[in-house]
């Protein structure tokens, strides 16, 4: 293999959907709250005054980004906690009304495994399917809503294939039918405009480290007046709804990072969409027999690319790309190392071999045109070499011959 010749020539990070760096500007904003202004914001002494203000400011920043009220923003430890809270919180507070929850087959595991837990504990869950681009069927959703339905949870944008759901339509449908609507916007936040009022969203999850904030902090938007059981029981923080001493530096970082992302959103959306499409077309041109997974254009996150390369297994590609200094991922990061192919790709109707051969390249504010050039220089050769030693590729070529 020639992979080695690229070693260390260049570093290209194409895994922004997994996590992003905390931007230096954001870190700068956080620093005073570690060792100087470290007081407990729930205390009454003046030493905590600055911290209280910092929390309010961050809450306002998040509210601004969502067109919400600061009173509707609750800080958590990340996207996972927000998702767990939304599902379990509604389940355990609305079980008087019903025990039926609707979600989709392509949700993040934070939703799917919370749903598993609820199924084990007396709840009923319906999983809506998606088409080959990853879009849910609104009429299937509509038909699934029953009297006992207490929650619909549909992700804003998918983490693997980048497909954006018709959130506004789902929101009005749920509002009409009187069902609470949650959306996991962990991947969408900072990349596409979100307005919880216009979109009739009742609950929304977000995670700071996906938009250049720090890891370990997120938020849940909870529409005013919505009843929800706590997930973190304890002290009276966050107006009694989310206990635990506030992670002040983390929350400050989240607020700042979201403010910056939203201010850059329109121009970054354009820039990244164009980079994305150049990379997509470049790969299609240079590598025969590939399949782009997910939707196109405006229905796709501007920073997401997901390809299946017939005959090549995903981990192989990751290691070869890594050897060339490119960080990428296959399926969701957390399922790497497992034998299961991505549940998302399988739900899109892909066969196992193709699902095992997927590659996700996710871009971000640091991604340059040169990065794209470099990937286009390296990737086709890697695929060619690995196909050469693949029995599946051999079979595939034979079948092509036969067809001819």
């Amino acid at each position: 293999m020639k992979g080695r010749e690229y070693v260390m020539t260049r570093k290209v990070y194409m895994d922004n959907a997994a996590t992003t760096y905390t931007s230096p500007e954001v870190l700068e904003e956080m620093l005073p709250y570690f060792s100087e202004s470290f007081g407990n914001p729930s205390s009454i002494y003046s030493f905590s005054e600055r911290n209280k203000k910092a929390l309010s400011k961050a809450r306002q920043q998040v509210a601004n980004a969502l067109n919400a009220d600061p009173d509707e923003i609750f800080f958590t430890s990340g996207g996972t906690e927000s998702d767990n809270w939304a599902l379990k919180g509604i389940a355990f507070s609305h079980n008087g009304k019903g025990n039926h929850i609707i979600t989709t087959r392509i949700e993040h595991h934070a939703i799917l495994h919370s749903a598993d837990f609820l199924e084990k504990n007396g709840f009923d869950v319906t999983y809506i399917g998606v088409d080959d681009k990853g879009r849910i069927d609104l009429s299937e959703l509509e038909r699934s809503i029953k009297d006992k339905t207490i929650l619909v949870s549909v992700m804003f944008a998918n983490n693997e294939v980048g497909t954006i759901q018709p959130i506004r339509e789902i929101g009005s449908l749920c509002r009409e039918r009187g069902v609470v609507f949650h959306t996991d916007a962990v991947q969408a936040m900072g990349h596409v405009p979100i307005d919880v009022r216009e979109m009739n969203i009742d609950l929304l999850s977000l995670s700071a480290h996906k938009f250049h904030g720090p890891k370990g902090v997120g938020a849940l938007f909870i529409r005013k007046g919505l009843r929800i059981e706590n997930l973190m029981h304890g002290g009276g923080q966050e107006k009694g709804r989310r206990a635990s001493t506030e992670n002040v530096p983390g929350i400050v970082g989240l607020g700042k990072a979201l403010e910056i992302s939203c201010s850059k959103l329109p121009e970054e959306h354009l820039r990244l969409s164009s980079i994305r499409d150049r990379l997509i077309n470049g790969i299609k041109d240079a590598v025969p027999h590939v399949k782009l997974n997910g939707a196109d254009g405006a229905e796709r996150l501007p920073n997401n690319i997901n390809f299946s390369f017939i005959g090549v297994e995903g981990e192989t590609l990751l290691f070869d790309l890594d050897g060339a200094g490119i960080s990428a991922s296959t399926g969701s990061a957390c399922s790497s190392g497992s034998l299961e192919p991505s549940h998302v790709l399988m739900s899109l109707g892909m066969d196992h071999a193709m699902a095992h051969g997927s590659l996700r390249l996710s871009m971000g504010e640091s991604t340059s045109e040169e990065d794209v050039d470099y990937v286009l220089e390296v990737l086709p050769e890697i695929v060619r070499k690995r196909r050469e030693m693949s029995p599946l590729w051999e079979d595939y070529l034979k079948k092509l011959e036969e067809v001819k």
Binding site: M1, R4, G337, H352, M389, S390, L392, E394
Partner: protein, 141 residues
């Protein structure tokens, strides 16, 4: 995650390819579990004179194929049969627990090629031991 040896055999796999007019061909695994291994052997005087493979699978599957073929090349057929997946994994300085099945797959592909060779030569195929059988059934092609 992987040892240097694994990465070396992954990056520079030995014995990649096919053998025209091979004396035995074995293929194990299936796309569902994400690993397929195909092995070609050339046998001369009861010795595996040449061996080649093609593998679709993760880095450890490719490294295991490479290492296993290296280890049986030039060996008597019976000795080649005796090569265990554990020996392959050890020669690679270990594999992560979730990846041990890759080395079993390599053992299986070689066995499959050997039995193909025995079949073609009117010999009774040899029997897999139980552990191996169980895993192979799970990964049945």
């Amino acid at each position: 995650m992987y040892s240097e040896k694994v990465m070396d055999h992954f990056r520079n796999p030995r014995n990649v390819g096919e053998i025209e007019n091979a004396d035995g061909i074995g293929e194990v695994g299936n796309p569902k579990c994400g690993d397929i291994m195909k092995v070609y052997i050339k046998v001369n005087d009861d010795v595996i004179e040449d061996i080649k493979f093609k593998t679709f699978g993760c880095a450890s599957a490719i490294a295991s194929s490479s290492m296993a073929t290296e280890m049986v090349k030039g060996k008597k057929v019976r000795d080649a049969w005796e090569l265990t997946n554990r020996a392959v994994a050890e020669a690679l300085d270990g594999l992560p627990p979730v990846k041990m099945h890759c080395s079993l797959l390599a053992e299986g592909a070689i066995h499959s090629a050997i039995n193909d060779y025995r079949n073609r030569n009117g010999l009774e195929p040899w029997e897999e031991d139980k552990v191996h059988k169980a895993v192979m059934e799970e990964h049945a092609h």
